[in-house]
Structures are given as C-alpha cells and as structure tokens.
Symmetry: C2
Subunit: 315 residues, 2 copies
C-alpha cells in the first residue's frame, strides 16, 4: 500500500498522519508544540514523530513514498529552507530538509502550511470539483493559497495567496506587519475576541458560559450568536463584511469558481458563512453563468497534515 | 513566411496588422470605428479590412495561418461569442466567429482586447523575461490581464484580470458599473481630465496650451507636470496613489515579478511612473530577493493588434 507521512507544524500543536494515496488516513498523531521551539528542537521532535509513524507504517505493511511537512511561514521549498516562521521566533533561513534528511533519508518536501492544506483540498477535499479557487485559513492570522488550472500557484518567491495583508481601509487599523488597514488587523481571532470582550462588557446580559470581564472564546461568541444574541451576531457579521469585501475583490480579479474557508474561526459555521455569502453575492460583479461557491474546508483538524502528506504526489 | 492577421477593435479606431511569427509587423492599417457600430456593421467592416490585408499578404508571399481579433468586452473565446462590449451598445451574445468564418474561412480566434495585448507582451514585449505578471491598460476604462507560469490566465468564465472594479474605498465614488469605490471611478481618463479642469479653474495660472474653462487633454496635464506645475504633478501623483495601492495589493496576493502598464494614460511617462513605483515600493511587503518591475508596455499603439495576431500561436 503506497502511503506518505504528512506533518502539520502549528504554533500550539504538531499533527501528523500516515496518508494513503487515495486520501484516506491510516494513522494520526498529535503532540503539543514545545515551548522553546528552536530549529534544533523542531528537528529533534519531527524526527521522533516521523520515526514513530514510519515504524507503525511498517507494521501496517505500508510503503512510505515520501514525507511532507507544512510550516506557518515563508518556505523556499525548492532549496528545502524555512525563510522565517510567523509567530515563532529564531527561525531565519533554516535548512530544515537537510537537517532531517541525514537521518530520515526519504523523499522529503516542505511547504507553507496553507499551501499544504490547499493541496489537500484540491486532491481529496472541497477543491476536487473546481479548476480555479482560493483557500483561506482563519485563525491567529489570515492565510491563503491559490489553485489555477487545477495546480497550486505559489508565485515567484513562494508567497502567493497572502490575503491577510491586503489593505482593506486606507490608513486603517495598525497591523503587526507594520502597515495599516490590513485584513488581519480586523479579523485575526485575537481581534475578534478583544472586540467581543469590549462589547460584552458594555451591557449586563452576557452570553451563557461567559465569565464577565474575561476574554470570550470564539466558541462562546458562536454559541451566543446561534441563540440569537444580537451583539454576538453583529461580531460575526462584521467579520463577514471585512472578509467578504476582500474575497469579492479577489473573486472579481481572478474569476474564481470557489473559495474554501478553513481554520479555527471557520468553526463558527452558519453565523459566519450566511452573512459572508451575502456580502460576496452583493459585491461581486454580476455575470451570466457565474456562481461562486463559498465552502467550508473538509478533512477536519488533520486537513493540514493530510495536505502535507499530499506534497509527495503533487503533479 | 508564416504570418497571422491581428485586429484590435476599439471604441474610436480599429487597428490591424500582418504579423510574422517572430513578432515583427509586415503591414499595418488603421480605420476609424464607424459611429453606429452594430454587430452586422462590425462584421462588414472586419471582412473588408481582413480581406484587404489577406490580399496584401499574398503579394508579400505570406502564409496567413490564422486571424485573431481583440474586442473590449467579455468574450467567450471557446464558442466564438461576444458576450457584451463595454461602451458599445447593442452587443449581447453575438456569434462573431461564425458570422465571419463563412466568408473568411480561416483559423479564427477572438478574445478580450487586454488579454490579446497581454499575450503580445508575453511573446514579443516586456513580458518575455517574466513568468508571472499583470498587464494593465489605462484609458477610458482600466483593464487588466494576468500571466501565470508563462501562460495567459483567463479565469473560469473569461473575465480574469478585471482590476478596474476592485474596490479601493469602502463606500467611495460611484462607478458606471453600479458599485461604489471602484478604481475606475478614480483613474479613468475622463475622471482625470474632469479633476484637472476643476483644479485649473480654481487659479489664474493655467498650463500652457490650455484654454481656460475647457477640459484639458491628458497630454496638457502631462506637459504641465513635466514643467513642474504643482497642480498637474499632483494630479498624476493622485493617480499613482490610487493605482499603486491596488497594484500593491495584487502584487502581495499573487507574488508577481512585474506589472506592465499600457494604454493612453501610460503615455504620461515619468510623471506617472515615478510616483507609481514609489507607492508600490512602500505598500508591498518587503521580502528578500523580491524586486517587482513596473514597466511601460512595448509594441506601441499596435500592441493590441499584434497581441490579437499572436492568438493564432498561443500554446
């Protein structure tokens, strides 16, 4: 049985799968990301994790054809170098593939985590039916990846799809990247939570499961919105307005068939997706025969690891 | 000698060339666009024009391998149908290829005029050196076309590259398309001229060659800006700010190597391109090894016709 090992390195957890070529998962594992996550620490942890899965794959009589790793940052996949990671310090031009290859001796690929997730959707998820689409991940940051003519498009330096730093408002809110008015400064999950906290504080009735004064979890805002709480609904409607305006611009520019939304914030479900579809419908140019699907990503919380495993079989 | 015939249909003029496969032009012609430009009128005029060039090509011992036509609108090139034309009324779902093929019996292609121009730049112009780039045309409207992996990208319905209706300002100036805040509502050439008129009226000293109260030609604004006139310079700096902000967003999203700018407004030259490069430099994400070239289109006023001729040899 032909398989690959896929690893999704995140800020809080590292997820890994043994993936069959048809997209089904033979085994999965998750470990917390170590607190001091230096490149050396990372190489050590990844080797242990991958060796464990490789041993298991032998027991299951799998042939591991390659290893793919997705990381949250700018990746030079041709040279196997991590240029930098977002939100994880101390990573500059780290030759991760050569650090791992010595011990693992496998056909190894690294790529940006959103690219990996997008490839997973293209081969095994929501993207199977579409030629040209955008994947968006909503979490701490706002990431994106693009598929044109059924191929992942990475751009000239590997950074294509960066929708989080598209400017939404001229001279708007300050963003961590140094610029003003970036989408991420409006809909990053910390911003959503902070906004909810301010709103909930300003009134007596707070949503259930919410301790007054604390920063509400996104799940609490979602639960309150589903129960009809107007403030909570308004928070998601604002996210939909900001995100939908940006997506409509991208759909107009690239004439896409679909946008696939994943990441933690997407768990809000209908309270986010219903107003999002409405905003996009309003702001895209009306055109005969055009219907743009706005879909939630498939493959669950291992979507990134599955996509990383799929790097082995890209093209 | 292998050649094609390329035709660029515009709102004021129709240009045509006999094009060699190396991009050189054997002959060119230009006629004014007839005032009542119905589909039937168009078919008649195009047949005459193309027959004339075909006769000339026989004299020059050329083999005409195909005919390409670029038109300003939404084109279904696979079916050979003009869905609609911008600024020319009475065009809805016109089967132009079948109307012409009966008499011309040649391998015939139609496409959007900016796509054709962009293909010309890719094969014979500024685009030869780049894999991923955007072509922009600045004139009555603001058009765009995209090249990824050295191939023209047309999107799912053929409308990719529409940058004129990207939203620049939330709830901004009203656009002809029905929406608000579109780029075209700020930098279409009529808008630039109207703005210049208001500005010039508000003071005594008007630029040379300019009759007080009239709407200044773009050439007059450019000439005044080159002489250091602060109002005229300011007009181009504003165009650069609006256009540059949009282009920076697109460069960040698509990780492009180059933007190629053509069309009448681009004739402004340095007074537009210098501030444009500055705005883009400021607003694109800084990234190692990345330098985005902002270039003026090559191939002169027949760039569109040359690109249309190139449709014969695409792929």
């Amino acid at each position: 049985m032909k398989t690959s090992i896929g690893v999704d390195v995140g800020g809080t957890g590292i997820k890994a799968v043994i993936l069959k070529k048809d997209g089904s998962v033979v085994a999965k594992r998750e470990i917390p990301t170590p607190p001091r996550f230096t490149p050396r620490e990372c190489a050590y942890v990844l080797k242990e994790l991958i060796r464990g899965l490789a041993a298991q794959s032998r027991e299951e009589r799998c042939i591991v054809e390659g290893i793919g790793i997705g990381l949250p940052g700018l990746i030079d996949r041709k040279r196997g170098i991590v240029r930098y990671l977002v939100n994880i310090e101390g990573w500059r031009d780290v030759p991760l593939v050569s650090m791992l290859e010595r011990d693992l001796k496998k056909n190894m690929h690294i790529d940006n985590d959103v690219n990996a997730m997008c490839l997973g959707q293209l081969l095994f998820g929501q993207g199977r039916r579409y030629r040209n689409f955008l994947c968006v991940t909503l979490g701490t940051g706002v990431g994106g990846a693009l598929v044109f003519h059924k191929r992942l498009y990475r751009g000239s330096t590997g950074s294509a799809g960066e929708i989080g730093h598209m400017k939404l408002v001229t001279g708007g809110r300050h963003c961590n990247c140094g610029a003003d008015g970036c989408l991420e400064a409006y809909i990053g999950n910390a911003r959503i939570a902070a906004r909810a906290r301010r709103l909930f504080r300003s009134r007596r009735a707070t949503p259930s499961r919410y301790t007054a004064g604390s920063t509400p979890a996104l799940e609490d805002i979602t639960a309150a919105a589903r129960k009809g709480d107007p403030l909570a609904k308004g928070i998601w409607e604002d996210v939909a307005l900001y995100l939908g305006t940006t997506l409509a611009n991208i759909i107009n520019l690239l004439d896409l068939e679909a946008v696939i939304v994943g990441g933690g914030v997407a768990n809000a479900g209908g309270v986010l997706f219903n107003p999002l579809r409405r905003v996009i419908q309003e702001k895209t140019m009306r055109q005969k025969n055009r219907k743009v699907a706005i879909l939630r990503a498939m493959l669950g919380k291992y979507a990134g690891a599955i996509g990383a495993g799929a790097l082995t079989w890209e093209e």
